[in-house]
């Protein structure tokens, strides 16, 4: 260990060697960070989109082709164990009007307890209260305690729309811009009264796994969808939570693949930096290396030292990249400059989501490149005998 430290001291002797080592570590760190952040943004978008969708629709949306339907005993029997993860909803198009501003909304009558169980969203509502989406709150300039006028159809043919006043109890965040702008919630009983649809609903939401945890596999939802479609028959339409945004999820997948190809360029740039370091040190310190070999440093020891140094650069860069990507994630969440326009990006904010597998993949690929680069350095040393090296390096 002591001799390794001495060797390290020899290699880093001189300001230029230290500077180039720092520059190499920095550039490698930034390259890995760029790759991590790009993958993280893709995965984060996918994660936020899916969790946002699940927060507003559960895992499966059940509608009837007849419009309103009654989730009677037969219906509940078919749901079986999923019955405990079912929430009934009455949903109606409406207009929200406040202070001379209006906006088209989707008013949902819910049972807060079962709704939370299915979507993971805690909604505290009293009779006569409404909870609006976060973006709608901003758009209309609402505050908790304000009275919001909601205009909606009464549910009867040829009848005029009715205006109902609801007290704003607060705002809700689904994580998807359009839904934070459109979805508002009242008690199911309140909406039943307005629409005269007692005991009937037009939407049912089902969750097949804990809504607060990422879904391990979309296949679980697909399997339930298949069996429920068979059991409920053709009178019902069942849609998975991603159906409205499946094009986006697919686009992210395709984009991730195409960007990963582009990112190879960044990997190559990073490898060039490492190679530049290897060549620089080999040229600058070859006198030292050959002389050390002459006075008793074995090729194996030199090789081990060389690999240890390069692996050290890799390890420090990986740790640096881990913290930098974390820092970037924090900035994305908290700095206004990184807030994206939700109407374009669907999500109101972005975040970096990196799984252990993503870290391992990026770090491993970087490691392979680093080992290749260090091998080139090793070959340069190995291909010359001590005598050749001494004569060439000290006579020139």
């Amino acid at each position: 260990m002591k001799s390794y430290l001495s060797l390290f001291k020899i290699v880093l002797h001189g300001r230029s060697s230290g500077n180039i080592l720092i520059a190499t570590i920095l550039s490698f760190t930034f390259s890995i960070t760029v790759i991590l952040c790009t993958f993280g943004l893709m995965d984060g978008f996918d994660h936020l989109l899916k969790s946002g969708l699940r927060h507003s629709t559960g895992d499966i949306v059940v509608t009837s082709k007849r419009g309103f339907y009654e989730p009677d005993e037969d219906f509940k029997k078919i749901l079986g164990s999923l019955n405990d993860h079912f929430t009934p909803i009455i949903q109606s198009e409406a207009f929200a009007i406040y202070n001379n501003k209006s906006s088209g909304i989707m008013l949902r009558g819910i049972e807060p307890e079962s709704f939370q169980k299915v979507t993971g969203l805690a909604v505290k509502l009293n009779p006569g209260e409404v909870i609006v989406g976060e973006e709608l709150l901003k758009q209309l300039g609402l505050k908790p305690g304000d009275n919001l006028a909601v205009t909606l159809g009464e549910g009867k043919e040829n009848s005029l729309p009715v205006i109902k006043m609801f007290k704003v109890a607060g705002a809700i965040k689904h994580g998807i811009y359009q839904r934070d702008l459109r979805f508002s919630y009242v008690l199911k009983a309140d909406l039943e009264n307005v629409l005269n649809v007692s005991n009937k609903i037009n939407i049912g939401l089902i969750s097949v796994s804990d809504p607060l945890r990422p879904l391990p596999d979309l296949k679980i939802v697909e399997d339930h969808l298949r069996s429920l479609r068979y059991e409920l028959g053709s009178g019902f339409t069942l849609r998975p939570f991603w159906s409205d945004f499946s094009y986006l999820i697919e686009a992210v997948k395709v984009e991730k693949f195409s960007i990963s190809l582009v990112l190879q360029l960044i990997v190559v740039v990073a490898v060039f930096n490492i190679l530049a370091f290897v060549i620089y040190i080999m040229e600058k310190k070859s006198q030292e290396f050959f002389f050390l070999r002459a006075v008793g440093l074995s090729l194996n020891k030199l090789m081990l030292f060389w690999f240890a140094t390069i692996v050290g650069i890799w390890a420090v860069s990986c740790v640096g990249a881990f913290f930098l990507s974390d820092l970037f994630n924090l900035s994305l969440k908290h700095l206004p400059i990184f807030q994206v326009p939700g109407e374009i990006y669907v999500l109101s904010n972005l975040e970096i989501k990196l799984s252990t597998a993503s870290f391992m993949t990026v770090f491993f690929i970087a490691f392979v490149w680093v080992i290749l680069a260090s091998f080139i350095g090793y070959l340069r040393l190995k291909n010359r005998t001590i005598i050749q090296g001494l004569r060439q390096e000290f006579n020139s």
Binding site: S6, F291, V295, G296, S298, I386, F394
Partner: protein, 221 residues
């Protein structure tokens, strides 16, 4: 019994033979000058003796060890613990002070070497050779003679059993050459080391009791 024994040693670089059928025995603490014209193979012989290179055929035995059979690591350890090199070009690393240069063999020698002890020995030797003031300086700040003395101190820093010198006076004037030759002889005797000096200078060779002459890769006397 001889400490160094070379049997039928041949060395070729590519298809060019450099050493042919060398048989040589050197006893412990012997002081030897190897003479020969440029390109005669004398330096190559020295490098084979120091374990810096291996013969194309034949055996190089040192204290019972056949160098050709040693692994790279064992050969490196052998060089570190048994051989001190003084080259014509001093091979002092320009990026380090003279003291750091001298301590290099000790530092890479591993845990067996006590650096503090070596440092103390080096200072003592530097004071004897009159270059104590050079130790904190960089090689480029020293004269040719001072650089060669520092080079000699480095070669002796781990108290080697064999001191190999390749044209140690090649870059010095005749007055300084004689001083260095005399110095090497005295130091080798003090350190009880075998001294092998490659030189083409008859005056320098005359300082040593045994002389070997090489011509076209063969020992002729």
């Amino acid at each position: 019994m001889s400490f160094i024994k070379l049997t039928n040693v041949e060395k070729a670089f590519g298809k060019t033979p450099v050493l042919r059928g060398i048989n040589l025995e050197i006893s412990d603490k012997e002081l030897v000058a190897i003479r020969g014209a440029s390109g005669s193979g004398k330096s190559t012989l020295l490098y084979l003796l120091g374990g810096l290179d291996v013969p194309s055929s034949g055996e190089v035995n040192i204290n019972g060890l056949n160098l050709a059979k040693l692994s790279d690591k064992s050969l490196a350890d052998f060089r570190n613990q048994n051989v001190g090199f003084v080259f014509q070009f001093h091979f002092l690393l320009p990026s380090m002070t003279c003291m750091d240069n001298i301590l290099l063999p000790a530092r890479i020698g591993g845990t067996n070497v006590k650096i503090k002890q070596v440092e103390a020995d080096v200072k003592k030797l530097a004071s004897i050779l009159g270059v104590e003031h050079c130790l904190p300086k960089y090689p480029y700040q020293l004269s040719g003679g001072e650089q060669q003395r520092v080079n000699i101190i480095r070669a002796l820093s781990l108290r080697p059993k064999i001191l190999l010198c390749d044209e140690p006076t090649g870059n010095l004037d005749s007055k300084n050459s004689e001083k260095v030759a005399d110095l090497l002889k005295n130091l080798a005797q003090e350190f009880e080391a075998i001294l092998l000096v490659v030189t083409h200078d008859d005056k320098v060779a005359s300082f040593f009791p045994r002389k070997i002459v090489i011509e076209d890769g063969r020992i002729i006397s």
